[in-house]
């Protein structure tokens, strides 16, 4: 990793904002801890009752009281394990079935003629563009190439369009 790539401008942010981030996050953790408080209380009772049961043979009232919950959790655990087992079995099946075999041959690399066929452009032009270092491309409104100018040589490789119309406003692209 290159540590310099990480952009952390926290120090330039207002101290109040940083404090607010910290306080709100701490509150979230407290909320979570509050939720697990009940679970810990139940766990405490179960452990102490189990201990008393082992030493003195006392009953396990708390454990009995939450047995429905434990049954539900047990059911969830079974489903989780079953899902996991299905996924791993599927992965192992595929590894076993396709081990050491590649039914597909190495595809032929795409040639200029292939590109010319798909894009509907002259193969000679595509070969020229592939050898250009800097080029300028004009497109028609429908997205087809109108012309390409190799800036270094100034050579026009396709005839100019009659009147390139402005592109219709489209859905914005928010790329990351």
């Amino acid at each position: 990793m290159l540590p310099s790539l990480i952009i952390n401008q926290s120090s330039s942010r207002p101290i109040e904002t940083k404090r607010l981030d910290g306080i709100l996050s701490a509150l979230m953790w407290l909320m979570y801890l509050y939720m697990i408080r009940e679970a810990f209380i139940d766990l405490y009772y179960i452990i102490t009752e189990s201990f008393e049961w082992m030493v003195a043979g006392h009953k396990l009232p708390h454990l009995l009281a939450i047995s429905d919950l434990l049954h539900t959790l047990g059911f969830y655990v079974i489903i989780i394990l079953a899902n996991g087992a299905i996924l791993i079995t599927w992965a192992l099946y595929n590894q076993f079935r396709f081990r050491g075999m590649d039914r597909r041959k190495n595809p032929k690399p795409v040639s200029v003629a292939d590109l010319a066929g798909l894009y509907g452009l002259p193969a000679e032009d595509i070969a020229n563009w592939q050898s250009s270092r800097i080029m300028v491309m004009d497109h028609n409104p429908d997205g087809t190439l109108a012309r390409v100018i190799s800036r270094v040589g100034g050579q026009i490789l396709l005839p100019p369009p009659e009147e390139p119309a402005p592109m219709e406003p489209a859905v914005p692209w928010y790329g990351y």
């Binding site: 926290s10 009940e38 592939q130 491309m137 592109m167 859905v171």
Partner: protein, 431 residues
């Protein structure tokens, strides 16, 4: 017709669950079970593929390396493009060219790229006179590229020096592999949103990619860092111009044509992400809308027997949307029940889940984060500290995902597909 069928399918699923009284259970159980499924898949991927690997310091050696073309679409990237090109030109892979496609930038990106050709002999530049969108930039990049293997990154991404080697070796080693997706790492960590996303990218996105790889199909490559076999793209017609997320679309196209997509976590790429709520909202809405567009596009053909390997992916997506719709339905039924006496099957007495449900879900989420972060700590040592901030994820990000899915799905449904997706200025952190 296809779109109507897609909507009907999901609505019927939700109605069926509502009437049979299992809606609330589904709303709770679906994320719970999926979370454990991601964990199992992620751990298996690590155990099978990653644990013996030696991380980035010693990438594999490729004999007779074929020419690789690194395509970089740029739109108004004057702040970042020099760094991006420099990192791309520093690849340790021995045989490559860099092609920057200036997509009609209105700032100085074009001039900067021309100047950079003086410093980097491997750099070639294609300028568009007008903005045409990322998909068109990639298509033109592929047209003028000389390599059979294409590595595509964004104009603000910084490629790790060994990333190309790691991705291309997977394409060379198996003729079945049509694309390889890399491991995006977030650079922008100044605000709470930035810090939460660091955890999210590893624990949600990274872990899901690993698990989906174990299943066999990926929902999407990462558009910011992916490598392609050109012959695979040629068969699929390259990137679609009318889809709002070209990366999701091309992933489904390739897999529907029986190409495999691999995940290579060693192929690191450092990226900028939004750090404001507005930027995050726009990004997530685009993701949600793009996913829905691809779902609706594939609906008609995905059921064909020769596409059966896509069924799992398709069902998973349908269930996710049903989950969003189910959660909203639950709240709506509860609200109506406050004013009108509801019949037995439709009565939701409370939307507050039993205490142990919330506890169980939150704990599962935190376990998932921990598992993912331990796996990902191979690639970035210091980031285990991010777990402090991920407490937000179960609350804040789930709500964003829910709302963007609910907004994005109708947007995809009613969007005119003849419109091309073009660039808009985006939030890349507060720096």
């Amino acid at each position: 017709m296809t779109k109507t069928l897609g909507v009907l399918l999901i609505v019927m699923l939700v109605v069926l669950m509502t009437v049979s009284g299992v809606l609330l259970q589904y709303v709770f159980l679906y994320p719970l079970f999926m979370s454990f499924l991601w964990m199992v898949g992620g751990i298996y991927f690590y155990w099978h593929w990653e644990r013996h690997g030696v991380h980035a310091s010693s990438p594999p050696i490729i004999e007779n390396p074929p020419l690789v073309s690194i395509l970089i679409p740029c739109f108004n990237e004057s702040r970042n493009v020099a760094e991006t090109i420099a990192a791309a030109a520093r690849q340790t892979y021995p045989n490559f060219e860099v092609i920057a496609i200036d997509d009609g930038s209105s700032d100085t990106t074009g001039e900067m790229l021309d100047q950079l050709t003086q410093s980097y002999p491997s750099l070639r530049v294609a300028h568009f006179r007008a903005n045409q969108g990322k998909a068109m930039a990639l298509r033109m990049g592929a047209l003028v590229a000389r390599g059979e293997y294409l590595v595509c990154i964004d104009g603000d991404a910084v490629l790790d020096p060994h990333a190309t080697t790691y991705m291309v070796q997977l394409l060379i080693n198996s003729p079945r592999v049509g694309a390889v997706t890399g491991n995006p790492r977030i650079r922008t960590r100044s605000t709470l949103l930035g810090k939460v996303q660091v955890g999210e990218f590893s624990s949600i996105i990274g872990l899901i990619k690993r698990a989906q790889r174990i299943y066999g199909t990926l929902h999407t490559i990462s558009g910011v860092i992916a490598a392609f076999r050109r012959s695979a793209l040629q068969r699929c017609g390259y990137w679609s111009l009318d889809m709002i997320t070209d990366d999701i679309d091309v992933s489904w196209l390739l897999q529907a044509d029986h190409w495999s997509i691999q995940y290579e976590p060693d192929a690191l790429c450092w990226i900028l992400m939004p750090e404001t709520f507005k930027g995050l909202w726009k990004q997530r809405l685009r993701w949600a809308q793009g996913g829905a567009e691809v779902y609706l596009k594939q609906l008609r053909t995905v059921w064909q027997w020769n596409r059966r390997r896509m069924w799992g992916l398709f069902i998973e997506y349908s269930m996710s949307i049903a989950w969003c719709l189910g959660l909203v339905t639950t709240v709506v039924l509860w609200a109506i029940g406050k004013f009108v006496a509801m019949p037995e099957g439709l009565n939701v007495p409370s939307i507050q889940p039993p205490v142990f449900w919330g506890l169980f879900l939150a704990t599962t989420c935190l376990i998932q984060f921990t598992v993912a972060m331990v796996i990902e700590s191979r690639y970035e040592k210091q980031f285990l500290g991010s777990i402090i901030w991920v407490i937000w994820y179960p609350f804040f990000f789930w709500i964003i995902t829910l709302i963007t899915s609910l907004v994005g799905f109708p947007k995809a449904l009613f969007r005119h597909r003849d419109k091309r997706a073009v660039w808009a200025n985006s939030d890349r952190g507060v720096a």
